[in-house]
């Protein structure tokens, strides 16, 4: 029998249900491997003992009527997990232990899942390389000193290194899809409103969305079924009929019209990206789909729009970290002094930078020129997609403009770091679902991803298209466990 850790999530579920393996064996396998993989620095908090205990309890009295029967999972440290430390990758929450559970992780628990740990991420989800975490950089298992992407870098790293059979991340401007692309894994950002934001440390409220990160599309469909739900504790949660994503997964894409946005052809894009894209288009056509060029004329304005809207919302969402109720507090002579010192010491540079941008764009005299303008451009961007979807069923693009870069390579230039998000950001602005699947390698052997973007609430469609592409590409991640002694 192949190694437990090499099994796919849906295979683990089947084998546990058939009693071919025990939860204890599975949990132990992932914990062991996690313990050998500290060099990756994927974990911020380990919950190994509790998890093992839960696995043992399950084995004694199993309940197989669950979608994730006693399956161990580590999750991004942005989800508030009851009694398990939740830091958001920040010093300001270094010792914060929530007394409540996020809806998404509660859904996992309800379906039998076991939380084995919390995974590293860029501080408050602000970053594209997991280099802004208070708890240190994360390594990409693909190669030493390579970034795993961000902000869900710990998640993508742990997933690719098989320290967890699947995981969940959050995506505000590409934070699931870009790390998936950098590590050769699958990452899905659902339609805005599909997964509840209750209990997720908020970055940018109108952009944040939780989503599954898995080794393959089938696992992704299973995870989406578990985590997507209507939640009346979240006023932006949408009550729509969620599909049986796994059951209805099929690779038949005959007759599907797939759009290729001409504005995504960026100048100076590496040849390999272009070739990958063409490869994807060919697969679509070979399988009965139709490739149609579409126009998303306001694409170039997406990044500037994002870098106004996201920081603005973040500056307000992070105001609650003031040292009063919870979290880190620095000694101050008076209240204002305490605030200033706490926030100055508690937040890292990138977070402070974005709070300042956000405060500035909302400040008196600038609201109209920046925030209001950005909200108007946001509508133009959404309209572009609405128009395009009159002609096509889904859109195919590269996930990222390049493969993973070296740790430290982009840290001095925020703008060049922001450009990582160029293909992913417009989708968050429009609230649409999108999935990144590994589709090839660049000349260094690093993975590259393709992104399928769907209509709102049409996750089934993009899962199916991704499934089809995945079957045809048969991508293999070349991971040689370099970090394990």
């Amino acid at each position: 029998m192949s190694n437990i850790i090499d099994l796919k999530l849906f295979e683990l579920v089947e084998k546990i249900k058939k009693k071919e393996i025990s939860s204890t064996e599975v949990t132990k396998a992932f914990i062991d491997r996690s313990q050998k993989s500290k060099k990756l620095n994927s974990y911020i908090t380990e919950n190994f003992e509790n998890a093992l205990q839960k696995a043992k309890q399950f084995d004694e009295k199993p309940d197989f009527n669950k979608k994730l029967p006693s399956i161990p999972l580590a999750v991004k440290d942005l989800f508030c997990t009851k009694n398990i430390r939740t830091t958001a990758g920040s010093k300001i929450l270094e010792n914060f232990i929530p007394t409540y559970e996020s809806t998404v992780t509660q859904n996992i628990l309800n379906e039998g899942g076991i939380i084995i740990g919390k995974l590293n991420c860029d501080e408050f989800a602000m970053g594209s390389s997991n280099e802004t975490s208070f708890f240190g950089n994360v390594q990409n298992p693909i190669s030493e000193n390579l970034v795993p992407g961000g902000s869900s870098g710990g998640s993508s790293s742990a997933l690719a290194a098989k320290l967890t059979p699947a995981t969940i991340g959050t995506d505000t401007g590409g934070s699931i899809r870009q790390p998936a692309s950098f590590t050769g894994t699958v990452g899905l950002k659902p339609t805005y409103g599909s997964c509840s934001r209750y209990g997720i440390v908020a970055f940018a409220s109108s952009l944040d969305q939780a989503g599954p990160m898995t080794q393959n599309v089938k696992d992704c469909a299973l995870m989406l079924e578990v985590i997507s739900s209507y939640d009346n504790k979240d006023s932006t949660s949408v009550d729509f009929k969620r599909g049986q994503y796994l059951k209805d997964l099929n690779e038949n894409i005959k007759g599907k019209k797939i759009g290729i946005p001409k504005q995504y052809r960026v100048d100076g894009m590496p040849k390999e990206i272009d070739e990958l894209w063409k490869k994807g288009m060919k697969i679509i056509e070979d399988n009965g789909g139709e490739i149609i060029e579409i126009n998303l004329p306001n694409t170039n304005y997406a990044l500037p729009t994002y870098y106004i809207v996201a920081p603005a919302e973040a500056s307000s969402n992070l105001a609650r970290y003031d040292g009063v109720k919870y979290g880190f507090r620095s000694k101050g002579e008076n209240l204002i002094d305490m605030y200033e010192k706490t926030r100055s010491e508690g937040f890292g540079d990138e977070v402070k930078r974005r709070i300042m941008i956000g405060t500035y764009v909302l400040s008196s005299g600038y609201y109209d020129a920046y925030y209001l303008k950005a909200q108007k451009v946001r509508r133009l961007i959404k309209n572009d997609f609405d128009e395009a979807y009159k002609k096509v069923d889904a859109i195919l693009t590269p996930s990222t403009p390049s493969s993973a870069f070296k740790i430290g390579e982009k840290t001095n230039d925020p703008v060049s770091m922001y450009l990582n998000d160029i293909f992913t950001v417009p989708i968050n602005l429009a609230g649409l679902p999108a999935i990144s699947i590994p589709a090839g390698h660049d000349k260094s052997g690093y993975p590259l991803g393709l992104q399928v973007i769907g209509k709102a609430f049409d996750e089934q469609n993009i899962l199916n298209i991704a499934y089809s592409i995945e079957k045809n590409i048969n991508f293999k991640n070349n991971i040689n466990d370099w970090w394990i002694n």
Partner: protein, 491 residues
């Protein structure tokens, strides 16, 4: 909009030969009567142990989100209807960003440019007539928690029980011109909200507070002066003192050739003066933007109409009806309608007994009794039922008005039934003309000298005879009949 009669005493500040008018606008914060808070499910009850009515949302824990209370929306709409105001079908909740220890989110969810209620009017009942005060808007917002500075000498203690309770902010136009008008305005607002059950108007518990905007201008000028805002004044008396101090301060500044700085001030209740809050230059950059955790509130016609249909009779309408139906004077009607509990009591009494007597007894004897015992009318020692009975006894002639007063006093000890008291104490009025004649004849025969004096022109002596008859009958003789019969016999 000013219907002041010529005799209305104007509130003017005089210096040398200059007369200054005072222009006042009020921003009233009224706590909404509801079970749970505006965006969270914790209770709103006043006076609980600190931090026992705080939910995770109220304390702004990571990942917490607001969900709006439908009833609070209805309460705001009801109040808007009571203010004759426009109900806006679409309104938006904005974040007002600032830092303070009792503001856990670091922002208050409020409404900025698109409030739920627009322009309206409130009619003041002033001694010299009515005056309409314009309402600019009403919006919903979260209340903050409480910062307690005087328990710990080195620290401030924070209680978040109040954090998140729904507030209605009612902004008036700068139409108020005197301390009396301010008094009348606050009372009217309070009365309307108590009628509607949208706010209990309890200023001592803080469910009604106001920020006062004051400016002055030379009498006759059409331009508005620079205003100062006096924050968080919690009683009408303090409001009036603050306004008076501030108006005089501003006039002094102007008279000395200076100009008024627009600023926020506090009223020091010990020194009875306003002073500038330490100026934080950034204090007013609230960086308002629509709250991305919420969506615009869109109300349909049916929702609003359902509320309109169920609005109870409001003070102005009730006043009109009392005047028309019961033929009360505007003055009397005012007193009876200004508080909903008084109007209820009055209507109960007048349902079963004479309206004129009900009016007099309630506004006279009953109010005096309540004042003396420091009670609200809902705590009245005499029930409306028994007061009705008393009035009926007077109307039927069973007892005289004078005796009624005695009985009233006896009733107030345990809400005794007046009919029983009359029985027990034998206080029935003597109204049998034959019996009265006997007594009168006796008095006349016993006082021949006074009879002669009266017949010769000493009219005042009539009172003597009345007095004697009353004394002889133990106060029970029917005064009207006594008068009639005496007159006949003496003339």
């Amino acid at each position: 909009m000013d219907k002041l009669s010529k005799e209305n005493k104007e509130y003017l500040i005089k210096r040398n030969t200059n007369e200054y008018e005072v222009v006042i606008g009020l921003e009233v914060h009224a706590q909404v009567l509801s079970e749970s808070k505006l965006f969270s499910t914790s209770p709103t009850k006043f006076g609980s142990e600190p931090n026992t009515q705080v939910s995770l949302v109220d304390a702004a824990f990571p990942g917490m989100l607001p969900v709006i209370n439908e009833f609070c929306i209805k309460q705001a709409i009801k109040t808007g209807i009571g203010l004759n105001a426009k109900i806006n079908k679409k309104s938006i909740f904005d974040r007002k960003n600032y830092f303070y220890a009792d503001l856990p989110q670091g922002y208050q969810i409020s409404q900025y440019k698109n409030p739920i209620v627009g322009e309206g009017t409130v009619t003041l009942d002033l001694p010299n007539g009515e005056k309409k005060i314009g309402i600019e808007r009403l919006h919903l917002e979260q209340d903050a928690g409480k910062s307690i500075h005087d328990i710990d000498p080195n620290n401030t203690l924070v209680d978040l029980n109040r954090s998140g309770v729904a507030l209605m902010e009612i902004v008036s136009k700068p139409d108020l011109r005197s301390l009396d008008e301010v008094n009348s305005y606050i009372k009217k607002l309070r009365s309307i909200m108590r009628y509607l059950g949208t706010c209990d108007g309890n200023m001592q518990e803080g469910s009604l507070r106001a920020d006062v905007n004051v400016s002055v201008r030379k009498k006759g000028s059409k331009e508005l002066g620079t205003r100062c805002e006096i924050k968080n004044v919690n009683s009408i008396k303090f409001m009036q003192m603050a306004i008076d101090y501030e108006a005089n301060r501003q006039v002094d500044v102007i008279e000395e050739g200076g100009s008024i700085d627009q600023e926020t001030r506090l009223f020091d209740t010990k020194k009875n003066e306003t002073r500038s809050m330490r100026s934080k230059e950034d204090a007013h950059d609230y960086r308002y933007f629509p709250d991305p955790d919420l969506l615009p509130l869109e109300l349909d016609e049916n929702f609003i109409n359902d509320i309109k249909k169920n609005i109870p009779e409001l003070p102005d309408e009730k006043k009109k009806r009392f005047i028309e139906k019961f033929k009360l004077s505007p003055y009397e009607a005012n007193i009876l309608v200004s508080d909903i509990d008084t109007s209820k009591y009055f209507e109960e009494v007048s349902k079963n007994s004479d309206v004129k007597l009900a009016t007099n007894w309630i506004t006279g004897e009953l109010f005096a009794l309540l004042n003396e015992k420091n009670l609200e009318i809902t705590e009245s020692p005499i029930s409306s039922k028994n007061l009705s009975k008393l009035i009926n006894l007077i109307k039927k002639g069973t007892i005289s008005g004078k005796i009624a007063k005695t009985i009233f006093e006896l009733m107030s000890d345990g809400d005794k039934d007046p009919e029983k008291i009359v029985e027990e104490k034998g206080l029935k009025q003597q109204s049998d003309p034959k019996e009265l004649e006997k007594i009168i004849d006796k008095i006349i025969s016993e006082n021949p000298k006074n009879v002669e004096l009266y017949k010769s022109g000493k009219d005042k002596l009539f009172g003597f005879f009345v007095g004697q008859v009353m004394k002889s009958s133990g106060g029970k003789a029917n005064p009207q009949l006594v008068n009639e019969i005496l007159k006949k016999k003496l003339n």
